[in-house]
């Protein structure tokens, strides 16, 4: 399986760069979009549905701890997006948090398919596709 489009949401520029590289190297997708805040990512997704031109991301890699709106805040906002996005997009949490609370809270969300710890590994991305 091949993912047409991947969206990375993280406030850390370094992490975004690293993640982008890993996804590219896994060879899963050629179309990778990076947003460094939840708000920007939300706006981007919202515009997608209005325009309908750009492809809806298949996977979103979402960081938890971000300034202003954190990963969980984004998940709430994501809920208000059109159904078409919900159907198309799988959300994978990507965080350095090893807090069980965070894990549980994330996995309880219906949009979240998986919880990965940083740093993102090539193998993890490949496995993701297989699932």
């Amino acid at each position: 399986m091949r993912l047409e489009k991947v969206l990375l949401i993280d406030d850390s520029d370094i992490d975004n760069m690293v993640n982008k590289r890993v996804v590219e190297k896994a060879g899963l997708s050629s179309h990778i979009v990076v947003k460094n805040s939840a708000e920007l990512a939300y706006n981007y997704l919202k515009e997608l549905t209005v325009d309908g031109q750009e492809q809806i991301p298949d996977v979103i890699f979402l960081d938890i701890r971000m300034p202003e709106i954190d990963g969980f805040g984004f998940l709430e906002m994501f809920d208000s997006l059109p159904e078409v996005i919900h159907k198309q997009t799988k959300i994978v949490m990507l965080s350095s948090s090893i807090d069980a609370e965070d894990y549980k809270k994330a996995m309880d969300n219906r949009f979240v398919k998986q919880f990965l710890n940083k740093p993102l590994q090539k193998e993890a991305v490949i496995n993701l596709v297989n699932v």
């Binding site: 370094i14 690293v18 993102l120």
Partner: protein, 882 residues
């Protein structure tokens, strides 16, 4: 004893003295020379009255005493001998009639004449003195006699003398009686009296009985006159002894009546009376009618021997033996015997006394024999009763003792002996002081001694030696003991072991003491379903309720605690009382100074000795302090909870914040492992460096944070200029540092004291924040640092023309790990720490910011200079030395 006459010599004529003295020497009489003046002294007069005496004085001296009454004293002398010469003697005898007892001695005279004259006078003096005494005695007898006596003339029965008894008899005054005649008393018998008086003169004593008419004494009395003729002087007189014989007559009558009564009494007496001669022959025999002593009639006995009248042989023998003793020893004896009659045993007691005939010789015995069956039975019963009571006493479950007249114990019952562990003999040998505790024996002895003295009941408590050797407390009570004859015979008493009671009392006392010294108010309430009065309260309770100890008792429990009436606690307590359940509650009273006094009341029903649920015990405690502690504790807990939550959050956040750059580094290292070109490698390495720097910054911040919360505040002199310079220098490796213009404006007119390290952290954070969020695109990026100190504070202002802070972020910038934008490369701890430090230093912080224009932070920190004046002086001094 007849006294020797005394011759007193009183001389006025000095020429006579020598001569008289010479004559007196050979006269053989007792001479006493005295001065004339001494004659009238009282002591001398007594002397001459008490003894036969004679006075020898010269005529010239007599002149001194011629005037009456001085002369009268001369009458006290039995005889007086006047010394005179012949001429004087003749003149006096012719002119004066001298009394009988005065005679002359003519001087000068021969010793023979003197001796003879003196002898005659002393003999006369002795005789006269004796007559005088006899007369006095007669007079005294006459006057003082209880018998009525009269002295009358025989011719007309005129009363010459009478004694008070006579006056009383006739009921006439003594003075009136004298001079009157017996006609006055006996007008009708006057002639008879005169006849008898005349007769008595011839015949001597005559007795005459006369009735005194009723008009004299208001009743008729019979008088007996005993007439005795006497010669007084030259006159014949008659002494009358008068006696009221009315009563005497009656006495005689009474005697005959009594004799008659005696006769009838003897006949009606219950006792058997008989007499026996020394051989045992009956002489007389009186037997009261119905007497059962031998079934023979009385008249049969007389003349018969005691062996022949039907006595049992042993009884008759006993009689004979006793008769012998009584007769030969002249004593009274008693014998006791019984006779069987009509199937029952009758007891007799015979009193056998010697019988004397008209010549006083013992010729036999008189026997009075009484039926003593009843007494005998009583005695027997008494003995049985005595035995019974003795047994009873022995087994009585109380210790009993008895003492004799000498206060020594002579009886102890079994219970006593069980207590002391001794047998009766050894117990009796032991004195009280061996039984009673040494500390108590003194009191016991005095109580016992007093009881003996007053024959009174006594009671006391003392320790008595128990068989184990220990002493036990007993109550000892005794009362006088009287034997069967009703005579005081000592004391009898009982002891009751009260050791247990004493112990209980002791414990009770201790318990009470404990209650009194308890640190809680304790009271006992009587549950009377109405007022619930307090029946006991300890000192602490009085203190807590502020009611006088003596006034608490009897007050209603509900009203003294000071809790609001009808309030929740009040109702709770009432309900507890009514339902007899435990209750516990807290309340507060409002004191005068409006200070809340917290009280805890804890009450529960208690049972009394009868197991009745009629009392409550209530414990009242002052929990004001506890309450305050509780309050503080609650606040502390809240704070602690907050701290814990913060710590949780801190640990969570910190671990994440620390991991975040680490994971970045790890991710970069993963990339570096794959094939990378040089350009990529340089980028990655630079990124690794950046991440590590960030990590380091976070760690520094955490250390600062930790230091602030952990370290105590320091007071040091702060030199802002130097501090700011140093801070800026440390930040020069931050990107774009060189593009910024730093402006410092420090006015340190007053030395400023505070915590140096903390102030440094504040300044460092502000400057590094300003640097990080600066706008380097503009023409003149600057950071201005202003400081102004005063005695009160230091105001630090840091202004930049950087990116500014969006308004929506402003309220949150001091929150821990809050990061405004994704641009923020910080840890999110910096401003949090600043705020914490400012609070710790007691200062305040303010921020003004506009997006795109810049930010100003203003910090106001108190100067500790005032509080640490000495320290400053020291610090300044040290600085100067440097």
């Amino acid at each position: 004893m007849r006294k020797q006459p005394l011759v007193f010599v009183t001389l006025g004529e000095p020429s006579l003295t020598g001569e008289i003295k010479n004559l007196a020497k050979d006269a053989g009489e007792q001479f006493s020379f005295i001065k004339p003046a001494q004659l009238v002294e009282e002591e001398f007069r007594r002397k001459i009255i008490e003894s036969p005496s004679c006075l020898l004085l010269d005529y010239s001296c007599l002149k001194l005493f011629t005037g009456d009454p001085k002369i009268t004293f001369l009458g006290d002398f039995s005889e007086i001998l006047l010394i005179a010469d012949k001429v004087v003697m003749e003149n006096i005898t012719e002119e004066n009639h001298l009394p009988d007892n005065v005679s002359f001695i003519c001087f000068p005279c021969t010793p023979e004449v003197f001796q003879m004259q003196i002898r005659q006078k002393t003999v006369a003096a002795t005789r006269r003195f004796e007559q005088l005494k006899i007369m006095q005695k007669h007079k005294s007898l006459f006057v003082n006699s209880p018998q009525s006596k009269l002295l009358v003339t025989p011719d007309e029965a005129r009363i010459v003398d009478a004694n008070p008894a006579a006056a009383s008899l006739f009921d006439i005054k003594l003075d009136d009686l004298l001079g009157s005649t017996l006609k006055r008393m006996h007008p009708d018998s006057y002639d008879v009296i005169l006849t008898y008086l005349e007769k008595s003169l011839e015949e001597g004593r005559i007795v005459l009985n006369l009735k005194l008419p009723e008009e004299v004494k208001g009743k008729s009395i019979e008088l007996e006159y005993i007439m005795d003729p006497v010669v007084i002087g030259d006159e014949k007189m008659v002494y009358l002894n008068v006696e009221d014989v009315t009563q005497k007559e009656k006495s005689n009558e009474l005697f005959y009546q009594q004799a008659e009564m005696l006769r009838s009494t003897l006949e009606s007496i219950d006792d058997l009376v008989f007499s026996l001669n020394k051989d045992g022959d009956f002489l007389e025999y009186y037997q009261p009618s119905g007497y059962n002593h031998l079934s023979l009639s009385a008249d049969v006995f007389v003349g018969k021997n005691i062996y022949d009248v039907g006595f049992p042989l042993d009884v008759a023998r006993k009689y004979i033996q006793t008769i012998d003793t009584v007769i030969y020893e002249d004593i009274q004896e008693r014998i006791e015997y019984y006779l069987e009659a009509f199937g029952s045993r009758l007891w007799y007691e015979a009193k056998i006394s010697p019988r004397k005939n008209a010549f006083g010789e013992i010729d036999g015995v008189t026997v009075i024999c009484s039926d003593v069956t009843r007494q005998k039975k009583t005695e027997e019963n008494l003995k049985k009763a005595r035995d019974f009571y003795l047994t009873l006493l022995a087994d009585f479950p109380i210790m009993i003792w008895k003492t004799n007249l000498t206060r020594r114990p002579d009886y102890f019952n079994k219970t006593w002996l069980d207590f002391t562990g001794n047998d009766l003999d050894s117990e009796m040998r032991k004195d009280w002081k061996e039984k009673i505790h040494p500390s108590d024996i003194g009191n016991f002895s005095s109580v016992l001694s007093n009881a003996y003295k007053n024959k009174q009941f006594f009671q006391l408590e003392h320790r008595l030696k128990y068989k184990s050797g220990e002493y036990r407390w007993v109550i000892n009570a005794g009362r006088p003991f009287y034997n069967l004859d009703g005579q005081f015979a000592g004391f009898i008493g009982a002891c009751y072991d009260i050791s247990q009671k004493r112990k209980a009392e002791e414990l009770l006392y201790l318990q009470k003491s404990a209650m009194e010294s308890a640190l809680e108010g304790i009271m006992i309430i009587k549950d009377d379903n109405q007022d619930y009065p307090v029946i006991y309260a300890n000192k602490e309770l009085a203190r807590l309720t502020q009611i006088d100890e003596t006034k608490i008792i009897g007050q209603s429990f509900l009203n003294i605690l000071g809790c609001p009436v009808e309030g929740e606690i009040w109702k709770g307590m009432l309900k507890s009382l009514q339902t007899k359940n435990n209750f516990k509650g807290e309340f507060f009273t409002l004191e005068a100074e409006d200070k809340k006094q917290w009280r805890l009341v804890d009450m529960a029903p208690v049972k009394n000795r009868q197991h009745d649920n009629e009392h409550f015990v209530a414990v009242l405690s002052d929990i004001t302090n506890t309450k305050e502690v509780e309050k503080t504790l609650r606040e502390k807990n809240k704070q602690l909870q907050k701290t814990n939550e913060e710590l949780d959050r801190f640990v969570y956040s910190t671990s994440h914040e620390l991991r975040s750059p680490l994971m970045s580094v790890l991710g970069l290292l993963n990339l570096l492992e794959a094939d990378v070109d040089d350009e990529e490698r340089i980028t990655y390495l630079s990124m690794i460096r950046e991440s590590i720097s960030r990590l380091d910054k976070i760690i520094h911040d955490i250390i600062d944070y930790s230091r602030n919360s952990r370290m105590g505040l320091m007071n040091e002199k702060i030199e802002f200029s130097r501090m700011i310079d140093k801070t800026i220098q440390n930040l020069k490796f931050i990107d774009n540092f060189e593009k910024v213009r730093f402006v410092t404006d420090v006015v340190e007119s007053v030395p400023f004291l505070s915590d140096k390290k903390r102030i440094e952290i504040i300044i460092n954070n502000f400057i590094s924040n300003s640097l990080r969020f600066h706008n380097f695109e503009q023409k003149d990026p600057f950071i201005e640092i202003k400081v102004k100190t005063s005695h009160a504070n230091a105001v630090i202002t840091i202004t930049d023309n950087g990116v500014g802070i969006q308004e929506k972020h402003l309220p949150k910038i001091y929150e821990m790990f809050y990061r405004g934008t994704e641009q923020s490369k910080g840890s999110g701890i910096g401003l949090y720490i600043v705020k914490e430090i400012v609070e710790k230093l007691g200062g305040s912080i303010d921020v003004k910011s506009e997006t795109g224009k810049g930010t100003t932070f203003m910090v106001d920190i108190p100067n500790l200079i005032i509080r640490n004046y000495k320290m400053i002086s020291l610090s300044v001094a040290n600085d100067n030395n440097l």
